[in-house]
């Protein structure tokens, strides 16, 4: 590693070699040993900028932001115990039985309605004399 390369790396990665890419550190430390003055000058300038960058206040999340994010998170379904599971099963069973019973009642009712409608239709036909006319013809 020569002086220019060392300077470029200090410009890019800052004044602390421990924060440079791992693959470059051994060579960098070797350069500091062989050219301590040049290395120190390059690192000092980069360290000044590191300090300036670290002078910026780190933003801290507000409680309101934290809570808004947490409140929007996925919710776990509450765990169901054996009694809840039994009640759910029983509920489904009761529902099926009720639905079947309702079906029978509606079916019977529809049949009754249908029979009533037939009687009304038949009376209308008799009163119109259609059946009697047919009887005379035969």
């Amino acid at each position: 590693m020569n002086k220019d390369r060392f300077q470029t790396l200090a410009d890019a990665f800052g004044g602390s070699i421990s924060r440079w890419p791992v693959a470059l550190r051994d060579e960098a430390y070797a350069f500091t040993a062989s050219s301590p003055d040049e290395a120190a000058a390059a690192l000092a300038s980069a360290l000044d900028l590191d300090e300036d960058l670290d002078a910026v206040e780190r933003p801290s999340p507000s409680h309101a932001l934290r809570q808004a994010i947490i409140n929007a998170a996925p919710r776990a379904r509450p765990a169901r115990g054996p009694i809840q599971r039994w009640l759910t099963g029983a509920g489904v069973g009761i529902g099926l039985v009720t639905a079947a019973a309702a079906g029978i009642v509606i079916g019977v009712d529809l049949s009754a309605s249908s029979a009533g409608e037939d009687a009304v239709l038949l009376a209308a036909v008799y009163s119109s004399g259609l059946l009697n006319d047919g009887g005379d013809a035969s």
Binding site: P59, P61, L65
Partner: protein, 183 residues
């Protein structure tokens, strides 16, 4: 994207996906400050940074139940989401500024500027905001987010050499902009 071995967040994400309240709290405690800092450094605006951090987490909550370990580290994925959101906002800002250029800001007398110069943090934030977006992104990822050069390059979709160049140019520009702080 960098996969870099096992994902230290993998187990936590799986628990978040099942709606585990403790895991949700832990993930927010672990990632929210990093995401907020990332957005703040990229946008130099506290309110917009909060919006970006919140939106990034909303996307994480949607992703968590079906998160597939191995495709990318969760931290890398979350950085990418937040950066994309930042770039959307930076793009909108440019569109607005092109259609409606802002008035020139009066910097005040030289003595006042000297007073402002003492606040190093504000000066650095302003200098960061003046950097080209990609240089700023490189500095933010490597200096503030403490990603390795390989992770940052993968996140930015550039080679390690290109990242090094972006970093060097960005930091040199910052040093020039802040030179008077050292006089």
């Amino acid at each position: 994207m960098a996969t870099g071995g096992s994902d230290p967040d993998q187990e936590l994400i799986a628990r978040v996906g099942r709606g585990d309240p403790a895991a949700i709290q832990a993930l927010v405690a672990r990632k929210l400050p990093r995401m907020l800092q990332l957005a703040h450094r990229m946008l130099n605006d506290a309110a917009e940074a909060e919006d970006v951090a919140q939106e990034a987490f909303l996307r994480a909550w949607k992703q968590a139940p079906t998160w597939q370990p191995g495709a990318a580290r969760f931290d890398t994925w979350l950085h990418r989401v937040a950066l994309n959101l930042c770039y959307d906002r930076l793009r909108r800002r440019r569109e607005v500024s092109m259609s409606d250029p802002p008035e020139q800001v009066d910097m005040g007398p030289a003595a006042d500027r000297g007073l402002m110069a003492r606040d190093t943090g504000l000066r650095v934030s302003a200098a960061m905001a003046d950097l080209p977006d990609r240089q700023r992104e490189a500095v933010v990822l490597c200096h503030y987010q403490e990603l390795t050069n390989i992770e940052a390059a993968a996140l930015m979709g550039v080679s390690v050499d290109a990242l090094e160049s972006l970093l060097a140019r960005g930091r040199r520009a910052l040093r020039a902009a802040l030179a008077d702080l050292r006089e």
